[in-house]
């Protein structure tokens, strides 16, 4: 498991830790007096990477998925070194939205991105990411959404009988990189300067494969082999696995793979039940997990499982992934007109949560969750009809 050094063992990491702490003011506790010189400092310093936090349960390093509601359901966030698999809904509307939230969170937190797709150019995907809501706008957006539903007579400011009303309001600095989990406005696009300031690598399959290439049959589909090599190169060259000792700050690599398993990747798992490359997808996931576990990276994969013909493969894929979230949208189904489900656009099923360095996993008690795409927000709520 990718571990974060908690106490400075050698001078090199202490030096980088001091540089980290002094560069980004991640806490509001200010040290009084002159700071002790870095080389003689014997107090343990936490090497903190922006956009991550340790889990409150077992200290596992977590990154946000981009949706604070989903983070809460998954036990705090996505653990570094794991795979989040999203089973796509039928028309791939909401799963691509979750994919974009994950990437947008990476840009806002300053992580490096790796976007792989077989049907869309990664540059186009990045252009369509939602815009982040900064702190001072955030509350306004929420109030706007909430007040739309309230009746006018209840629109009264709540009178607080406690002393807190007299306290001066705390100024929260709008430093977005020090927070964990941000809110996004899906009706606006991410500003261009944020994309340009971020570091990203794109993998677009039609560019990597020339159409006249004669591919000899092997155990892994050619597209998967190229993708794994690409990911491995990036991890090695940029030092996410610690192979090149990083003098600069440690960072997380966020990998996003879109529509894995669709025929556009060259995999016929969606076309036939027993095809030639029936084990290709499972082998890919196995190798990918090995790459992730030995590096500081987190991966999101969307997969059209509703197209996979062989149901046993879905079970294998679920076992080979860490977190599996299934989306079921009501579009086109009879539930769309059902008055029970009129508040929601679909259901979310948390199919699997991993047990990482643990005997128990962080399952939430609530199993029935519905989601709704409001005008600007994607919200996940407990399905009230099931209570």
């Amino acid at each position: 498991m990718a571990a974060v050094a908690t106490c400075g063992g050698d001078a090199g990491s202490v030096g980088s830790a001091v540089a980290t702490a002094s560069k980004s003011n991640v806490t509001s506790f200010q040290r009084r007096g002159p700071r002790a010189s870095g080389t003689n400092d014997s107090s343990p310093r936490l090497v903190s990477i922006t956009g991550t936090r340790p889990s409150v349960r077992n200290g596992q390093l977590l990154v946000s998925t981009g949706l604070p509601a989903l983070d809460q359901l998954l036990g705090g966030g996505l653990a570094v070194g794991t795979v989040l698999l999203i089973e796509e809904d039928k028309y791939n509307i909401y799963s691509s939205l979750l994919f974009k939230y994950f990437l947008a969170e990476g840009i806002v937190s300053g992580h490096t991105l790796l976007v792989a797709s077989a049907n869309e150019d990664p540059a186009n995907i990045l252009q369509e990411l939602p815009a982040p809501l900064l702190d001072d706008n955030c509350k306004k957006e929420f109030d706007e959404d909430v007040y739309n539903h309230k009746t006018p007579e209840s629109n009264i400011k709540m009178k607080i009988a406690w002393r807190y009303q007299l306290l001066p309001k705390m100024e929260i600095r709008p430093v977005s990189s020090s927070r964990f989990g941000h809110y996004y406005d899906t009706s606006k696009r991410i500003p261009q300067e944020l994309i340009e300031a971020s570091k990203w690598h794109g993998f677009f399959l039609p560019e990597k494969i020339s159409s006249t290439l004669k591919v000899e049959p092997c155990s892994l589909t050619y597209g998967y082999i190229k993708l794994l090599q690409f990911i491995q190169n990036i991890i090695y060259e940029e030092g996410f696995d610690g192979s090149n000792p990083q003098k600069k700050q440690k960072n997380i690599l966020r990998i996003g793979i879109q529509n894995l398993g669709s025929p556009l990747w060259g995999d016929d798992i969606c076309c036939t039940e027993n095809g030639d490359s029936s084990h290709s997808l499972t082998k890919f996931l196995y190798v990918l997990r090995g790459l992730l576990r030995t590096s500081l990276s987190a991966c999101i994969i969307t997969m059209p499982t509703h197209l996979i013909q062989n149901k046993a493969v879905i079970a294998h894929v679920t076992n080979l992934s860490d977190i599996v979230v299934g989306l079921e949208s009501f579009i086109g189904s009879e539930r769309e007109t059902n008055p029970l489900y009129k508040d929601y656009h679909g259901l979310i099923h948390i199919r699997q949560i991993p047990r990482l360095n643990n005997l128990v996993c962080d399952e939430s008690d609530v199993k029935d969750l519905g989601f709704k795409l409001k005008r600007k927000l994607f919200t996940i709520e407990v399905d009230s009809t099931s209570l």
């Binding site: 028309y91 791939n92 509307i93 691509s96 049907n119 150019d121 186009n124 369509e128 009178k159 607080i160 009988a161 406690w162 002393r163 009303q165 007299l166 039609p206 159409s211 669709s262 025929p263 556009l264 060259g266 995999d267 016929d268 969606c270 076309c271 036939t272 039940e273 059209p304 509703h306 197209l307 013909q309 579009i331 086109g332 008055p339």
Partner: protein, 300 residues
């Protein structure tokens, strides 16, 4: 809706069956594109060229570019006329076209291609062909590409059908009642909800499209009259609503830690002696006035 099918671009699947054939609709759409001035390519694999061109007048026939793969699909006669690479090579050649302007490619039929080519290769090629307009490499605007594929849905299993449906921008399923053909059009715009409409139509002998209103459907009684929602605040033992007077009283209530100016002055003003309350105390016989030894057990 059916006539604006070609406005969107991308892959259009025409799913037909034995009862409702789709080739006439395909020919009607081809005729429409030709009349609009688009360049039309036909990949003919299932029927002969003469049969396909039958019913079109000469003006349209001159605009059609026909690639014949029916007569000699595997190029055994080696006349050199057939394109190298078969239908797949022809499709790939269309990916790399250099002339601008909108193009319509009609595949007759996609089922034939699915049965003769591996599904993944076909999907990848179709995707490359239908998405040319979205990636202008040299900056010049490339016209829209419409790919019309005729698919016989009874020939294929759910796997290939699902795979092609997920690729297609529009799916037209043919059906109907006795004497009237209908088309169920499912339109998937990227990132928007898919729209689903049914359009009744008929094809005239010269392959022009005639849109019609559907046959009169007798109004069906609504099953399950809508149950009025139960009001949960109906029979409660406590009062959830406030009358106006109560609300005014609540609003005018000052809270304990809310300092108004009157309260502040009342606290700061020095207390007048006559306003204070006094405590009158009569010491009892048993009361001990010695404060230092209340239990009276010190032996001093």
């Amino acid at each position: 809706m059916l006539d604006s099918l070609l406005a969107l671009g991308g892959l259009v699947l025409l799913r037909d069956s034995v009862e409702w054939e789709g080739r006439s609709l395909l020919k009607a759409l081809v005729k429409k594109s030709a009349l609009c001035g688009e360049q039309v390519h036909i990949l003919g694999c299932e029927v002969s060229e003469e049969e396909f061109r039958e019913g079109f007048d000469s003006q349209i026939n001159n605009r059609l570019v026909y690639h014949d793969f029916f007569r000699d699909p595997l190029n055994w006669s080696k006349t050199g006329e057939a394109l190298p690479g078969g239908p797949l090579g022809a499709l790939r050649a269309m990916c790399k076209r250099t002339d601008l302007g909108p193009v319509t490619i009609a595949l007759d039929s996609l089922s034939w291609l699915l049965l003769h080519l591996p599904c993944t290769t076909l999907c990848q090629t179709l995707h490359a062909v239908s998405h040319q307009d979205s990636c202008p490499g040299d900056g010049s605007p490339v016209g829209k590409v419409h790919v019309l594929g005729l698919l016989h849905e009874e020939l294929h299993g759910p796997g290939p059908m699902g795979a092609l449906s997920s690729l297609a921008q529009t799916e037209v399923t043919l059906g109907g009642t006795v004497g009237q053909a209908s088309a169920r059009i499912l339109c998937r715009r990227p990132r928007q909800r898919p729209t689903d409409q049914t359009q009744w139509f008929s094809i005239l002998p010269d392959f022009s499209l005639d849109l019609q209103e559907g046959p009169s459907i007798e109004s069906q009684p609504h099953s399950d009259p809508h149950i009025s929602p139960v009001d949960p605040t109906a029979h409660l033992t406590f009062n959830l609503h406030l009358s106006r007077k109560e609300r005014e009283a609540r609003d005018s209530l000052t809270l304990p830690f809310q300092f108004s100016s009157e309260k502040q002055e009342a606290l700061l003003r020095p207390r007048p002696s006559q306003a204070t309350s006094h405590i009158f105390y009569e010491p009892d016989a048993y009361d001990d006035l010695d404060q230092e030894d209340p239990d009276d057990d010190l032996d001093i």
